[in-house]
């Protein structure tokens, strides 16, 4: 009888392994969860990994060198659906902030490498291949991963969470960190994280990426009114999701030229 279970693979390219750990750290469910699927590959915890044919590949990490790109392209070819797992894969996360920092900050760390590990511009995986699903966040919410798997196992297509972090933050009864003068990016950042950072007293740095209908200029204006300077605002917004904010520079420029900001209708 043919195996009807979905064939899954969990892989990591350049990253911190935190997203793959988030899969395993579903301690109460992981052993049963793997029974629901045909786990063909998970090199972090498996010795035998067969990479020829998948229904879903979950990819952690960003493309930082040629080997990353080769791995990514091969797996894309061998899977029906590619799932971008976590912030590095979805936005390039902190490593891609390198594209926005001065070269003089890191050039002392560069060195000549072997051909196969030559650096590439640090980029999210969708800069190179088609991505079918995104599980954002640094780290992603571990429950979200389980829900995703359970959904696709029964043929349901998961939908992204689109409301800003503020919605969950308010629901959780937190005091607004912007009101306390902290540079919180909650208003322009997609939630679904249960506002875990602001619950812990820490301002949102935007790791799950901008909401579709964000008002970036208003966010910048608020931060400027709180006394944060241009450099700080740009650095902060670009730390996790800089490559997903190509409009940032223009927005900063408009505001600095005294142009009236537009409130989203």
């Amino acid at each position: 009888m043919p195996n009807q279970k979905l064939k899954l693979g969990f892989y990591g390219i350049t990253g911190c392994a935190g997203c793959l750990l988030s899969v395993i750290f579903n301690e109460d469910e992981i052993l049963d969860l793997v029974q629901l699927v045909d786990l063909k590959a998970f090199p972090f915890i498996k010795e035998v990994n067969i990479d020829d044919e998948f229904d879903y590949v979950f990819m952690e990490g960003l493309v930082a060198d040629k080997e990353d790109l080769e791995t990514l392209q091969k797996l894309r070819k061998n899977c029906k659906y590619l799932v971008s797992l976590g912030a590095c894969a979805c936005t390039g996360c902190v490593p891609a902030y390198r594209q926005f920092t001065l070269k003089e900050n890191y050039e002392h760390l560069l060195y000549k490498k072997l051909q196969n590990v030559e650096d590439l511009q640090p980029t999210p995986i969708d800069a190179h291949v088609k991505v079918d699903f995104y599980i954002p966040g640094c780290p992603p919410d571990k429950r979200e991963i389980v829900t995703f798997i359970k959904n696709v196992v029964v043929g349901k297509m998961p939908k992204p969470y689109e409301s800003p972090v503020c919605v969950e933050c308010r629901k959780n009864g937190n005091q607004c960190l912007l009101d306390l003068g902290k540079p919180c990016l909650g208003p322009i950042t997609a939630g679904g994280c249960n506002s875990v950072c602001t619950n812990g007293g820490f301002e949102c740095w935007g790791c799950r990426g901008p909401t579709k209908d964000m008002n970036l200029e208003l966010m910048i204006r608020i931060l400027k009114d709180k006394g944060f300077d241009n450099k700080f605002i740009q650095d902060r917004m670009r730390t996790f999701v800089g490559l997903k904010l190509p409009m940032l520079e223009k927005a900063m420029l408009n505001l600095n030229n005294g142009k009236k900001f537009s409130v989203h209708a």
Binding site: L31, E47, Y97, Y106, D119, P139
Partner: protein
């Protein structure tokens, strides 16, 4: 007969590494272990950022020891600014670190190491026969995660620790709940010890020196000199003792002390600090029949198991004695300076070093991770150890080498991309 073996993707380790071996007429002619991670240049990314942003950024170096990078970064920044945190803050930082160590050791022991000894390709494949053992592992991992989540706000990349204090002090009832969980979990830790003491470890002695933090007050976590059985120095002197160099084929750097290789991690800590173990951890040490000092890297598995018992007792102690007060984060007077943070994290001693200008902006950073320090030692051990197996078949050589590498619990995400070399 000439054999050449290349392991392009070593599995069941954290991160990506490659090993190339050459054996000719029973002699090892080539042994090169290298990280094959893409470079992320964290030390460059924190340049130009504010003093209180370093820990949030460098946390992303590693998922399995993110608390470690957070606390090491904060310690280094506070050292640069001549700030001493409150006793409560210190205790909360220790608790966070202990929670992470329990989680990390349990993950390594059961998911990355144990399958080798029981003849399985993975822990998941063991599930039908060894479900209770895996349940022990998951219980310990869950406890570690709960501690980190309660104290740090999130189980990976914690959010509540910051320069000058704690953004959100845990509630007393949460502390009580952790304490209860710690008492309950103790039996799983004891079972873990017994299981890992029962495994058969190859005989081997590494020609190494075991370094860890050490002080006179306890099993060092956040404070102490960097010491071995015959050397000791202050963290501020580390650049004179720890030398970095770069291997051209690899993205990782190796670190040597006075041209000697050395080892950090649970076994080093046990060798140097065993007299400060908790009562029950001492009982476990006795039961293990380990003769200390041990320089057999395979014994790192037993050392990790013993440390889990100790960490649980130490954490219970903190929960019982810390009378939580509502301290707010202190505003630190900005000043230019240079500071070093050295703390004991799951895989050994972690170094963070920052230079800060008088506006609170980071102008330079240096980070040395435990695995970066262990790499040379792992490679030299492999070379010596496989000489014994040089006439055996490839499979036998490979399985022994993999076991050896995994016993160090290396983290190649951490080990890559930290080096000081000239731009070419």
């Amino acid at each position: 007969m000439t054999k050449s073996i290349t392991l392009n993707h070593i599995t069941k380790i954290e991160g990506h590494a490659k090993l190339e071996l050459g054996i000719d007429k029973g002699k090892v002619t080539k042994c090169e272990l290298s990280a094959v991670e893409g470079s992320r240049y964290f030390e460059g990314l924190v340049r130009g950022r504010r003093f209180n942003e370093a820990h949030e950024i460098t946390s992303r170096i590693c998922g399995i020891c993110s608390c470690a990078h957070v606390i090491a970064a904060i310690s280094a920044v506070e050292d640069a600014m001549h700030y001493t945190p409150s006793e409560q803050t210190k205790q909360l930082r220790i608790l966070l670190t202990l929670g992470e160590r329990i989680r990390s050791h349990a993950t390594h022991l059961y998911f990355l190491s144990l399958p080798d000894y029981l003849g399985y390709e993975s822990a998941l494949a063991m599930a039908s026969k060894y479900r209770p053992q895996l349940q022990n592992a998951l219980n310990l991992m869950k406890l570690g995660n709960n501690i980190i989540k309660t104290i740090g706000g999130r189980d990976l990349h914690p959010v509540s620790a910051t320069v000058g204090g704690w953004l959100k002090i845990p509630k007393k009832q949460d502390f009580e709940s952790i304490k209860k969980q710690l008492f309950t979990i103790k039996k799983d830790a004891i079972k873990t010890c017994k299981l890992f003491f029962s495994l058969k470890y190859p005989r081997f002695e590494s020609k190494t020196e075991c370094f860890s933090l050490a002080n006179n007050n306890g099993y060092a976590v956040l404070d102490g000199k960097f010491a071995s059985e015959n050397a000791s120095f202050d963290k501020s002197q580390y650049l004179e003792f720890v030398k970095e160099y770069h291997e051209p084929r690899s993205t990782a750097n190796f670190v040597v002390k006075g041209d000697h290789r050395y080892m950090v991690g649970a076994l080093s800590r046990l060798n140097n600090n065993y007299k400060f173990l908790s009562k029950d951890a001492k009982k476990m040490l006795k039961l293990s029949k380990l003769k200390l000092p041990s320089k057999n890297p395979y014994h790192n598995n037993m050392a990790q198991a013993i440390e889990i018992v100790h960490c649980i007792d130490n954490a219970i102690n903190i929960c019982e004695n810390l009378d939580l007060r509502n301290e707010s984060v202190e505003n630190i007077q900005l000043r230019a300076g240079h500071g070093v943070g050295a703390i004991e994290v799951p895989r050994g001693t972690l170094w963070h070093d920052y230079t800060i200008n008088d506006s609170g902006v980071i102008t330079n950073a240096n980070i040395i991770t435990p695995t970066a320090q262990n790499l040379l030692n792992i490679q030299e051990d492999i070379k010596e150890f496989i000489a014994r197996f040089a006439n055996k078949n490839k499979d036998k050589i490979v399985s022994n080498v993999e076991k050896l590498i995994r016993s160090y619990d290396p983290c190649f995400s951490c080990s890559a991309h930290f080096l000081e070399v000239k731009w070419v």
